[in-house]
Subunit: 285 residues, 2 copies
């Protein structure tokens, strides 16, 4: 229904992706797996150069429910092509808050280059004027980024829940933070990034939150996804980001945003505006 050239992402064709609705699909090896689903996709191309020019959803799929069901069946059929199915539906929109065109399985979003939204929370403590960040270490058996460092609380934003309710829910599940405390979580902005890996075109927008925790609070993971928590001085977290790749990559960005907002990176540091501009130049829509 949407032509490649009308989706505003033409520049990205050079990376080997073509547009589908509000998404992007790897144009050679992944797209061929979609060719059998004639009832779902129309794939057109340039026969002489044998390239795919356009992937669109069949116009017979008239409602969001039709499209959600049809894409859901495709994802099931693709089996191990799309690992890590979570049975969690993500809404597909042109931008945040816009009408939902269809919904699809969270793990499949990057295979269709669908923008995904999440919430990330910096949980911190202030003692004698010094700030400390609560950092989680992901379980070694977690499917994605096992064993890496992580925020105290973070999660994808499922369909039909507000950011604030999602943060409160994740606070409970991931760190055992009761609603009486998590309700103080403060939204502080958003960052975005994209990452291409194999067939996956990850386009994420993360709503960032800060939560100042009581000094004596100790987090307690309730869903088995976190191995341990540690409270570390903010400059220590900054050094881990600068010198290692221990953090799950998107956490780096949210913590760098924290470092800017709390004065740990300041205008008298070399490269201040460059780094700030780079952090904020993503497609936050």
């Amino acid at each position: 229904m949407t032509l490649r050239r009308s989706c505003g992402w033409q520049g990205h064709r050079s990376y080997g992706f073509v547009c589908l609705s509000s998404g992007l699909i790897e144009e050679e090896r992944f797209v061929k797996h979609l060719r059998d689903f004639h009832d779902v996709f129309t794939i057109s191309g340039n026969n002489s150069s044998n390239t795919v020019e356009n992937v669109s959803l069949q116009s017979s799929l008239r409602t969001p429910e039709d499209r959600t069901h049809a894409i859901g069946e495709v994802i099931k059929s693709l089996g191990e092509m799309i690992p890590g199915i979570r049975n969690e539906l993500y809404p597909v929109t042109s931008s945040y808050g816009m009408p939902v065109y269809f919904s699809l399985e969270r793990a499949a979003a990057p295979y269709f280059g669908i923008k995904a939204y999440g919430v990330h929370m910096n949980g911190y403590v202030e003692k004698d004027g010094q700030k400390f960040l609560w950092i989680g270490k992901r379980s070694d058996v977690k499917q994605t980024y096992p064993g890496m460092l992580d925020h105290l609380v973070a999660g994808g934003l499922p369909y039909g829940i507000s950011c604030k309710e999602n943060i409160i829910k994740e606070c409970e599940e991931e760190a055992g933070i009761p609603r009486s405390i998590s309700t103080n979580a403060t939204s502080v902005g958003a960052i975005s990034y994209m990452d291409i890996e194999g067939f996956r075109y990850k386009r994420d927008v993360l709503f960032c939150y800060d939560l100042k925790l009581p000094e004596d609070f100790v987090p307690n993971n309730e869903d088995g996804e976190v191995d341990s928590f540690r409270l570390i001085p903010v400059p220590h977290a900054a050094n881990i980001i600068r010198r290692t790749e221990f953090f799950k990559p998107n956490c780096n960005l949210v913590i760098i945003d924290f470092l800017f907002r709390h004065g740990y990176i300041h205008p008298d540091s070399r490269g201040y505006l460059n780094l700030l501009q780079s952090l904020r130049s993503g497609d936050c829509s």
Copy 2:
């Protein structure tokens, strides 16, 4: 020395400005006042269409000091063309922290489209979990924006002083905040904007600071530029911005940034990402 087409601002020619070094000059009425200064500028153009294509500084002006002196003499000669001379020199660089190409009088910066840097500080108080902003009302006899609402502390960034030292100096001069308190001012990011008015092409980058003040602190203007101060609840300040044009325009942006960082504008508000992206899309370099 720098060609118009090499300065990266070609798109702005449509607004009627041509490039000079790191700046922009109104191409018809203002540029003609520079034609007499043969020792300072080379002005070339398209004779058939009678348009100015390029303004450059004479290559005989070899050092920053030579250029600063020559431009200073031009500004003096222009007299009332450039009102509000402050006898405060601004460094001209390609971006913040880069080598100084020359310096020029602060009031003249927008006539030469030179990017200028400043510091703006949100001074706030927290009482029973509610935040209040200290707002100044500019003196009715101030040359620029008389009588308008303003930040507690704000100022241009003169040459050779760090942002932090500048904030501490302005805190003392504008609001009587002693160093023991102002040293806690925290850098929280930067915003930028441009504004074209007549011959002036204003391109500003503002380094933003927050300072949490003691509940009993009362500001006291020491340079006669502020008529009065008032402490108002943050949502009240937000309403003034939404409904009136009482604030000096650039203060609106810095306060909107405060509203984002302190959760007063949150992701569950309509248009959140649009407003955030718009606030952050300026040329912060």
